[in-house]
Amino acid sequence: MELKLTLNGRAVAASVEADTLLIDFLRAQGCLSVKRGCETANCGLCTVLMDGTPVLSCSVLALRAAGHHIQTLEGLQEEAADFAAFIADQGAEQCGFCNPGFVMNTVALLRENPDPTDDEIRAYLAGNLCRCSGYEGQLRGIRAYLDHKKGRG
């Protein structure tokens, strides 16, 4: 079946099967930041933005994205690098396998709520599992970024 959508700002037309999942379509398109950590919509690793809203690409059929704008981390490098550097300064990237999903959801959080409290951060990112970092360093990184931004602004 023919699928047309906008991927990271670029018009894409491709043929997919009716049961192709968005995650597999995106990886086939070269968006390799999108990771799979489970088959049960539990880990958040596959998070991408559909029209700006985070979705689990493992649980969306590729065809459902027809006509929509999908963004992956490949398309948000600068916006992400802004705060990711602060997470790097905590050493909280660790193995990194969960990072793309977590970073995408953080992008969405910060767009929605530019000045979240720690509890708001925890709640928003609760669906993003990380087995390495123990989460605390990710939080410190985001907090440091927010503090830095305030100091700047």
């Binding site: 992956t72 050493g91 193995c95 396998f97 970073v103 390495c132 123990g134």
Partner: protein, 763 residues
């Protein structure tokens, strides 16, 4: 000693931004997408023989390239455990076997052009099983009527007390002093059995491997592994081909925690590529990673702990029954830590100890290596027993530990008679108590809303590498423009060892970390390293880095001396170059690098190999404050404070995050994670829906600090940190829950259901 410049600094990990920005660095990101997809048909029975297997229809599915059964594989048994040869783990595996030993055991291998074809073929393989009675309960395994490995070509390479005709994977007894006699003279003896079920590493990247034939006719393996060199040997054993025919490298790894110290996925695509000549990959599903991998050994630890009225701990007797499941990977070795890394914590006044164990085969998923490696299980038991003792005697659990804990300079009979050269456990305890507010938080507080707050404590130790066994090597090379290449065979699995080892090199060579380009790990190109496990990399490989840099500096001075027309002893290394001590000239690193490539015979590349006769333990104290909901049995962790003595923290940021990550895994183990089976041997937690790992809402607030000691045998005084950090949460949490509810939970995980039932039963 001069003040350190790079070691001890929170240097950013070299690959940090690449990882955070989602660059394609993992196995499935970097291999050709048009390779064969490999899948495995898995046994629906816990114990069965394949009577007939017909693959004709499956082979005909368009896109299917090959289907293999037990009739197609080499008949030499091997182990998948990544250990130094001769492996203590028995040779009890075939790539595919006619006998199936657990639900999920491999029945057939399918290779196809795409996933859909592979999936279709899996469904079309016709198997007639002769279903056999299974042995699921470890208590019934030893000398029971059902044998998991009756085969005659089963082999144990080391004297570990194994006997397949008894379902015995290993057994041993060791002791010091007369434990029965001392126990009989103790005022109190705590005598309980503690049970830690199997739990899964659940690293976010599942097992995965890519294989292809290289232009030299060798098998090239790209695998998410902690052990490139062991993978080479194990694949050669499994395929029954020369080791020279195999080349293994690892890309970035999406977490390991010991899981990837076992060759879980590698053998399948390797077999396919070797047979077909075609490139192939195998990506484990999450379900496969949960049902057919290498989780923590399910252990039952029987502790008898004797003390006098004043709280002096005089004797400890530990017996561990470990369940290795269907195969013996890491079975004979994990179990040892359950006693050898728990009992020595109480060396202080200990008059006698005994430690005995049996490791049995059952028809469950085979176990493997998981962070903590048996110490976690033993420490849950012994630390719980000490907390029970403190309660019985009405003593403060912190005070009873201060009275009995191991201290610097003591010889630990239960730890191979090693001496603690560096031990800040006492300082960890007092600092932790102060940071946590032990005095205020230990008393139980009824919050008046049906909730009760309480606190618990535990100590822990681990090792730093396997003494006399683990080998770490480093190659350091001066290159153009005066930068350095550091090659290692240790595997950075996210922990940051590439950066930590570069920090050490930068310190030795007096240069910025950016001047060190790190490479690893590759079985052809890296110097030999046992691999990243047993908390060895910082301590063992780190020392190799230090020594290699030392030697390189001497070589650079020799080249510079020629250039400066003087003797090597008349120059000194400055970091930027080498200068004559008499002030008569200087050459830069770039000059030396240039010279090294023109008419030079002195190597500017040095490899140093290190092994340590000792394994200095890191130490740690953890304290938890939690709240129990008396209505629901729900437990909420509020605060966790830990103070760690890992020797010198080489990179305090990475040490901190390791600690935090380990604590959260430990909280998961204490409260939610555990593998259970139905009566047919089906594993129940086969997805992340059922196997719940902690989210960021399940962990409360963490606070981690360091109390450093200086380990003279380690690089810059360092010991290890990777594993110890998972050990304190289970006993500390069980302790706090007892304080809140009056019920000791001696079996993990302590679910709300168990808490509630416990309170009900108590009335």
């Amino acid at each position: 000693m001069d003040k350190l410049k790079t070691v001890g600094q929170p240097v950013r990990k070299k690959d940090a931004m690449a990882l955070l920005l989602g660059k394609p660095v993992y196995m499935d990101d970097i291999v050709p997408q048009n390779c064969l997809v490999v899948k495995v048909l898995r046994s629906p029975h816990a114990h069965a023989l394949i009577e007939e297997i017909n693959t004709d229809v499956a082979q005909k599915v368009p896109g299917v390239v090959a289907v293999y059964t037990y009739k197609d594989v080499p008949q030499k048994r091997f182990t998948m455990a990544g250990q130094t040869y001769p492996e203590p783990s028995p040779y009890d595996r075939l790539i595919l076997d006619q006998r199936l030993r657990f639900v999920g055991d491999a029945v057939a291998i399918v290779a196809a052009e795409d996933e859909a074809a592979a999936d279709k073929a899996l469904k079309l393989i016709k198997v007639k099983y002769q279903v056999l009675e299974a042995v699921l309960d470890p208590h019934e395994a030893l000398d029971g009527p059902i044998l998991v490995h009756p085969e005659d070509n089963w082999r144990s390479l080391c004297p570990v007390g194994a006997d397949n005709k008894r379902n015995l994977c290993a057994s041993e007894v060791c002791s010091d002093g007369d434990v029965e006699d001392v126990l009989s003279h103790c005022d109190y003896v705590i005598d309980h059995i503690y049970h830690t079920p199997a739990c899964n590493q659940a690293m976010m990247e599942t097992f995965r491997t890519y294989t292809e034939m290289d232009p030299y006719g060798r098998l090239h393996v790209i695998s998410s592994t902690q052990i490139v060199f062991h993978v080479r040997r194990i694949l050669a054993n499994a395929l029954d081909i020369p080791k020279s025919k195999i080349h293994v490298e690892k890309p970035r790894i999406g977490g390991g925690f010991g899981a990837k110290q076992t060759v879980v996925a590698e053998i399948y695509p390797a077999f396919v590529t070797w047979k077909t000549g075609r490139a192939a990959k195998m990506i484990y599903t999450r379900e496969e990673s949960l049902i057919a991998s290498s989780p923590r050994h399910d252990m039952e630890v029987h502790v008898r702990l004797g003390a006098s009225k004043d709280g002096t701990i005089r004797a400890i007797d530990v017996y561990t029954l470990s369940n290795t499941g269907a195969y013996g990977e890491h079975g004979p070795t994990t179990v040892g830590l359950s006693g050898h890394k728990s009992i020595p914590l109480y060396t202080g006044n200990l008059e006698a100890f005994r430690f005995a164990y049996d490791v049995v085969y059952t028809n469950r998923q085979s176990a493997g290596a998981y962070r903590g490696y048996g110490a976690t299980q033993g420490i849950f038991a012994v630390e719980s027993a000490v907390n029970e003792l403190a309660d019985k005697l009405g003593l403060d659990p912190v005070a009873i530990r201060e009275k009995n804990m191991v201290r610097e300079g003591q010889v630990m009979p239960a730890y191979y008679n090693e001496k603690t050269n560096a031990c800040a456990l006492d300082r960890c305890m007092s600092r932790c108590a102060q940071l946590f507010g032990w005095k205020e938080k230990f008393p139980v507080r009824d919050m008046g809303n049906g909730k009760v707050r309480a606190a618990g404590v535990a100590m822990a130790m681990q090792g730093s590498g396997i003494s006399g066994v683990d080998v770490g090597s480093a190659t350091i090379k001066l290159s153009d423009e005066g930068f350095y290449n550091l090659s290692i065979g240790a595997a950075d699995m996210g922990t940051g060892c590439d950066t930590i080892l570069a920090q050490m090199a930068a310190e030795c060579l007096d240069c910025p970390v950016d001047n060190i380009a790190v490479f690893g790990a590759d079985s052809d190109a890296s110097p030999y390293d046992s691999g990243s496990y047993a908390s060895s990399t910082t301590y063992v490989t780190g020392k190799a880095v230090e020594r290699a840099c030392q030697q390189l500096k001497e070589n650079l001075c020799a080249i510079a001396a020629q250039m400066l027309e003087c003797k090597p002893e008349d120059v000194e290394f400055t970091g930027q170059g080498v200068r004559r001590l008499d002030g008569g000239g200087e050459v830069s690193l770039m000059d030396i690098a240039t010279k090294s490539m023109c008419g030079n015979e002195i190597p500017v590349q040095v490899t140093y190999t290190h092994s340590s006769p000792v394994s200095p333990p890191p130490f740690m104290v953890g304290m938890v404050e939690l709240e129990v909901d008396k209505e629901t049995g729900g437990v909420e962790v509020l605060n966790y404070v830990a103070v760690v003595d890992c020797g010198t923290p080489i990179n305090p940021n990475l040490a901190r995050v390791q600690t935090e990550g380990g604590i959260v895994q430990g909280i998961g183990m204490a409260l939610f994670e555990g593998i259970t089976y139905d009566e047919k041997g089906n594993l129940l937690e086969n997805s992340l829906m059922q196997y719940k790992i902690p989210t960021r809402l399940d962990m409360g607030h963490l606070r981690v600090e360091f109390e450093s000691s200086y380990e003279p045998t380690g690089p810059f005084g360092a010991k290890s940190i990777g594993e110890i950090v998972i050990n304190t949460p289970s006993p500390a949490i069980a302790h706090a829950i007892f304080r809140a509810t009056g019920v000791w939970h001696r079996e993990l995980p302590i679910t709300p259901e168990k808490v509630l039932m416990g309170m009900k039963a108590k009335g």
